[in-house]
């Protein structure tokens, strides 16, 4: 596996992505939505609730909001990954691509980077905004700086990248089996569900603190490995050229 070769693929595909308004819109709307929307909500709650109780329930609420970076990291890359694979299918460009001295793994890795890099940039941008604004509005009522903390660190450095990888791998596997970007996105949306379940669990009792998140990260890592094997099998030149529809 030569990173340089995969990077040529990724650079090319990212340039294609840049020309798709819908994909760019998702990449911008998500960090702005989470980074501005939730702090605004927190500000509203701080402004309208009695100051006494805030210290007890505000942290839990903010943690739940922070989890949206994990959910976003899993949803944003699906359409990019689906587009960069189904797009090649539609244009029938995989055959000439695979005829170059690039291994299947390098092409696959390039496609994964195409979805992963912009997603992580969006997560980073959105989370910096989120943490800064949350600190700004909660510093007074809480009396201390809520961010950065261990929970968000695990979320941003472990859970979000892993969730993103799971989503990308699943998109690759799904993209091999569908003929257009839209259906790929629809199926890939399923990955979203377990995260929403986690989120709801977090809202209704399960602590989404650093410790539990580490356990979740371990599970994600396992899924990443399993899907990696499956996606390599799916993204095999013989399969691509003779079975993919």
């Amino acid at each position: 596996m030569r990173f340089s070769q995969a990077w040529i693929v990724a650079r090319h595909d990212m340039a294609l992505i840049r020309r798709r308004r819908g994909l760019i819109a998702g990449l911008i709307a998500y960090p702005l939505g989470v980074g501005l929307g939730f702090p605004a909500l927190v500000a509203y709650i701080v402004a309208t609730s009695p100051a006494a109780g805030l210290g007890s329930y505000l942290p839990g609420l903010i943690n739940a909001f922070g989890f949206w970076f994990v959910i976003g990291a899993a949803s944003v890359p699906t359409s990019i990954a689906a587009y960069s694979i189904v797009g090649e299918k539609v244009e029938k460009s995989l055959e000439p691509l695979l005829a170059t001295p690039t291994t299947d793994g390098e092409v696959l890795f390039g496609k994964a980077l195409t979805a992963f890099v912009p997603t992580m940039i969006a997560v980073a941008g959105g989370s910096v905004l989120f943490m800064f604004l949350v600190d700004l509005v909660t510093r007074g009522p809480l009396g201390y700086l809520y961010y950065p903390n261990a929970t968000i660190a695990v979320e941003l450095l472990l859970l979000a990248p892993l969730a993103s990888l799971v989503a990308i791998e699943a998109s690759v596997i799904i993209s091999a089996r569908v003929a257009d970007v839209r259906s790929a996105q629809q199926y890939a949306g399923v990955i979203f569900l377990p995260l929403i379940v986690l989120y709801v669990a977090g809202e209704t009792g399960l602590s989404l603190g650093a410790y539990n998140q580490l356990i979740i990260a371990g599970i994600f890592a396992l899924v990443v490995l399993v899907l990696y094997v499956v996606s390599l099998k799916t993204f095999h030149r013989d399969e691509i050229l003779t079975r993919w529809k």
Partner: protein, 312 residues
């Protein structure tokens, strides 16, 4: 050394045998035309030889690399260029961007790549259009860009799967001239095509495939090797006596009269033509002209493809 050497190369898709025990050699610098009806296995053969899909059995070396050997694959793909059956260009990118991408994947150094792209696009008459999106190109223009893409890294061996399909006569001519140019540069060309005229004009050798390789040879050797030659003899005066004399001399070959001409079926022109002349002259006839009507490549092709039953 053979540029391509295949031995019993076979590809099965489930229970369907797409290519059956193909054994062939293509020499360095040769233009090899690969003919065969739809579904004959031409594309499948090219895909195996360019290490795009695996073979089911048999073996082949291409440009000194063994196909199916993972250690040789990248080296093989650096040396070959491929024009696939579907051009597969990125419609949302410009012509220059498409070529740059493939040049980079082939590891062509940036300055050399720019020079190559300019040379190729100029050759294809598309230099002015280099910054136009492929989506705005006609089929023929796309085909030309895809051919340029196959050449962007100066491959020593080029596989072209129906390069002139979809092209107007002028564009086909450009492509043929390009191929002849490549031939001058001693590059080897493996050409899948349905265009027999093209084969006759540019191929050194041809192979006719129908799942199995039916025959290989130079276009002329195939034409002359086939039975069904006819000799047309134009006479000053055609009489029944002359016809009878020729019939007697050349029996059992068929002899027909067509206007002032005799049409004589011959097996071996070098033996039969002098016999025809002798018979006509002996019967008092005067020969104005004698023309050898040899089967065209099309005759050879149609006969082989329709008549030859696949061997068990």
């Amino acid at each position: 050394m053979s540029m391509i050497h295949a031995e019993n190369l076979t590809k099965q898709f489930g229970s369907v045998t797409a290519v059956d025990r193909v054994t062939l050699d293509v020499q360095e610098g040769e233009v090899f035309g690969f003919l065969g009806p739809n579904g004959a296995g031409k594309t499948t053969t090219v895909r195996m030889l360019s290490s795009l899909i695996s073979k089911s059995s048999g073996r082949a070396t291409v440009a000194g690399c063994e196909i199916g050997n993972p250690a040789d694959e990248l080296k093989l793909r650096r040396q070959i260029g491929l024009l696939p059956e579907n051009v597969g260009l990125y419609e949302g990118n410009t012509a220059a961007e498409n070529l740059t991408y493939f040049g980079e994947l082939q590891g062509v150094e940036a300055t050399a790549l720019r020079a190559n792209i300019e040379r190729l696009l100029r050759m294809m008459d598309l230099w002015e259009k280099r910054d136009a999106l492929i989506g705005t190109f006609s089929k023929g223009m796309k085909q030309k860009v895809a051919i340029a893409r196959a050449l962007v890294h100066d491959p020593i061996l080029v596989f072209l799967d129906e390069p002139t399909a979809n092209l107007d006569p002028e564009a086909s001519k450009t492509v043929r001239e390009t191929l002849l140019e490549l031939k001058k540069e001693r590059r080897t060309i493996f050409l899948n095509t349905h265009n027999l005229d093209e084969v006759q004009r540019i191929c050194d050798r041809v192979g006719i495939l129908r799942t199995q390789l039916l025959t290989t040879g130079t276009p002329d050797s195939l034409r002359f090797g086939m039975s069904g030659h006819r000799t047309a003899v134009r006479l000053a005066h055609l009489s029944d006596a002359i016809v009878a004399a020729v019939r007697a001399r050349l029996a059992p070959n068929p002899v027909e009269v067509s206007g002032d001409q005799l049409l004589v079926g011959v097996q071996d022109p070098t033996r039969d033509n002098p016999a025809i002349v002798t018979a006509v002259v002996a019967a008092g006839g005067q020969i104005v002209s004698l023309t050898q009507l040899s089967p065209t490549l099309e005759d050879v092709y149609l006969k082989l493809v329709h008549e030859e039953a696949p061997a068990a």
